[in-house]
């Protein structure tokens, strides 16, 4: 019988594989969106008394966080195309192109002694 990708894993790991199901992922994103809406509603209570006017704008931190994250991701795509290089660009004077020496490691698979 062929072994599946999740046959040889820990008990906690087995439970967590449920998180990889598409419908669960969809539900998690929905949950996150609902949490965002709740946090947004939180601003109705005027809990913040910021040092700057902009801070007290409705949903300021939410918009800021979303926009900042999206900006970072798109900006880095451009950056990588400019400064990205192959791993051996500086070889041999760099560790990136080398394997980590085995003597320092204890590489073992799950289930090994």
């Amino acid at each position: 019988m062929p072994t599946g990708p999740n046959d040889k894993i820990t008990a906690i790991g087995k439970k967590l594989t449920a998180l990889e199901k598409p419908e669960i992922i969809k539900r998690m994103i929905q949950g996150l969106a609902i949490f965002c809406v709740l946090l947004f509603i939180g601003d109705f209570f005027h809990l913040r008394h910021g040092k700057f006017e902009s801070e007290d704008l409705f949903g300021f931190y939410g918009f800021f966080g979303f926009a900042a994250f999206a900006f970072i991701i798109f900006a880095t795509k451009v950056l990588k195309s400019i400064i990205g290089r192959k791993e051996d660009y500086y070889a041999p004077n760099v560790v990136d192109a080398e394997d980590y020496p085995d003597v320092e490691l204890d590489v073992k698979e799950h289930g090994d002694d």
């Binding site: 910021g50 801070e55 004077n93």
Partner: protein, 577 residues
């Protein structure tokens, strides 16, 4: 004799030196590892119980040396350094390489010595000590790449020490003092060259923008355990020195703001997760430097608190990625993924570190970073404040999400590594516990800060603001990922400032050499041609068949001699008369 040596026993440094001396005498194994645990415990105990004031005062060549200055600022750094050394000792329990063990002891010891130094000369000695000891943690990898990287690291670290000692000498000549105290004077306009050099030396080790790249170059090149140790000391020692000597220097606010900003983008595109963490470390230092620049009691408290929390969660993140490297042989995001299946505990500890650095409420970063942000806002630096808020979202992107996501989730790499060894789990567990404990009971940390704290981090407004920032950013991540906009990790490296001295400078030097060689070659060729031409001319004159070689009659010779003698006689007559 004992009286002469007594001052040197005032600082806990001697414990580390003793430990390093005793360690090789013990049999290889647990006993040696035990020394690396006992020494930091004793050091922490001594620091905790040290009476405030100056101890270990002596004179050296007419200069007053203070080995141990105990106040709240030095104490909090001394304590966290001892704690970091202890935790990394547990993490490195399996290490049987005595070079690494001795280097770790001496490195931690010299860093602790530096924060308790009361004069610039002792500071210099410890400053260089940290450089010399720590490079062995990189060389201990014992590969060509690690050797070259270690050399680059050492050059820059020792270079910073050379700048420091030059600054100290010039400052001593100008002011007659080597006291390690506030050097700000009435602002940078009043600084003599010596003070500027000291400032620059601190800047190199603090990884100021453009001087930062040694950090990202070298830390990922160290051993699994060496990187954890490296992450704790050098840069925070520099932060301490800035807080001690340059509080309230406005320039630092802008330097710090830039430091929080640019590493975000580099971290985001970096493939090696340990280098991602090195960039992230740089970004966290930026927050601390801003705190020093603002320089108010609240801000300096923020810097000290953030350094304390940062050492813990950064160690934790390096430990978890190190454990992955230890078990799989790689820390590259492109090669990892799905490890939660078999390394669930490491995954949980990594997430605790990620939540702490991202400053989620109830985690340590939340109670320390907000001190700095509030200090910047209170002193009306709106742009800097906005940069820090942006950088906070950036921290979530590269350390909060990227590290745990690409190592433990993302696509299934097919790797099924065994869970990290028990001692690593214990080290990570203790560090994670400290991160959460500080987050839940911030007063325990606030009691250690240099100034009295009148600050409440957990207000409804503050929690709501931070959650909005982080959860909306998380939503952005989820959506970008879901719709395929999130860039995949590839086996690449990225150019940074180090390109200038690793590629540009050698290329430029090569060009200079080529130009000089060509010019020299042409000049030499020209000279050769002239010599050859001269030789041909002489040959034509004197050589066989040359004009002067032709056979002359004796009579003609006699005639020429007579003419010459006559001419000489005539000139003589003219000149005498």
């Amino acid at each position: 004799m004992t009286e002469l040596l007594a001052p040197y026993f005032a600082s806990p440094v001697y414990l580390f030196v003793l430990g390093a001396l005793i360690l090789p005498l013990l049999p290889k194994g647990e006993l040696r590892a035990l020394v690396t645990l006992i020494v930091p415990i004793l050091s922490g105990y001594l620091i905790w119980n040290a009476a405030p004031g100056l101890h270990g005062i002596t004179t050296l060549g007419g200069l007053e040396i203070t080995m141990m200055r105990v106040d709240k600022l030095s104490t909090i750094f001394g304590l966290i350094f001892s704690l970091a050394a202890f935790l990394s000792g547990i993490y490195a329990w399996h290490v049987r390489d005595s070079v690494q063990q001795i280097a770790t002891l001496l490195y931690a010891g010299t860093a602790i010595g530096a924060v308790f130094a009361g004069d610039l000369l002792s500071l210099f000695v410890y400053w260089e000590g940290t450089a010399l000891a720590s490079v062995f943690l990189i060389w201990a990898r014992r590969t060509t790449g690690a050797y070259a990287t270690g050399m680059r690291y050492l050059l820059i670290q020792i270079g910073s020490g050379v700048i420091l000692i030059a600054g100290i000498a010039l400052h001593y000549r100008a002011s007659g003092s080597i006291a390690f105290d506030r050097l700000t004077g009435t602002g940078p306009e009043s600084w003599d060259l010596g003070v500027w050099l000291i400032f620059m030396a601190f800047g190199v080790k603090c990884a100021f923008p453009l001087m930062h790249n040694w950090l990202q170059d070298s830390y990922p090149a160290a051993t699994v355990t060496g990187t954890v140790t490296l992450s704790a000391f050098t840069t925070k020692m520099a932060v301490y020195c800035l807080a001690r000597a340059f509080p309230g220097t406005e320039m630092l606010i802008y330097i710090g703001a830039v430091m929080t900003l640019f590493p975000i983008f580099f971290a985001e595109i970096e493939n090696d997760l340990r280098r991602v963490l090195a960039y992230s470390l740089n970004n966290q230092l930026g927050f601390m430097v801003v705190g020093v620049g603002v320089g108010t009691e609240l801000a300096l408290n923020g810097t000290a608190a953030h350094a304390f929390c940062h050492i813990l969660y950064k160690s934790l993140l390096f430990m978890s990625v190190g454990a992955v490297l230890f078990r799989t042989g790689t820390s590259k995001a492109s090669e990892l993924g799905g490890l939660y299946r078999t390394m669930p505990w490491t995954m949980v500890f990594c997430i605790v570190g990620a939540a702490s650095i991202s400053a989620f409420p109830l985690f340590s970063g939340f109670v320390s970073k907000s001190l700095i942000l509030d200090a910047a806002a209170e002193n009306q630096y709106p742009v800097v404040w906005a940069v820090l808020v942006f950088a906070s979202a950036g921290v979530l992107s590269h350390s909060g999400i990227k590290i745990p996501y690409f190592a433990f989730f993302s696509h299934d790499s097919g790797k099924r590594p065994k869970e990290a060894p028990t001692h690593m789990l214990i080290a990570m567990g203790l560090t994670a516990f400290a991160c959460i404990f500080i987050g839940v009971f911030p007063s325990s940390l606030y009691a250690l800060l240099p100034y009295d704290v009148n600050y409440v981090p957990y207000t409804a407004g503050h929690i709501l603001a931070q959650l909005q920032l982080l959860v909306f950013a998380l939503l952005a991540f989820a959506l970008l990922m879901r719709y395929g906009f999130f860039p995949a990790e590839t086996r690449t490296i990225n150019l940074d400032v180090d390109w200038t001295y690793r590629k540009l400078a050698p290329a430029f030097l090569g060009l200079v050499v080529a130009v000089v060689r060509t010019v020299w070659g042409e000049l030499a060729r020209g000279a050769l041609i002239s010599v050859q031409a001269g030789q041909t001319a002489l040959e034509r004159l004197y050589g066989p068949g040359g004009r002067l070689e032709q056979v002359q009659r004796t009579g003609a010779m006699v005639l020429w001699v007579a003419i010459l003698l006559g001419a000489a006689l005539a000139i003589n007559l003219i000149t005498v008369s």
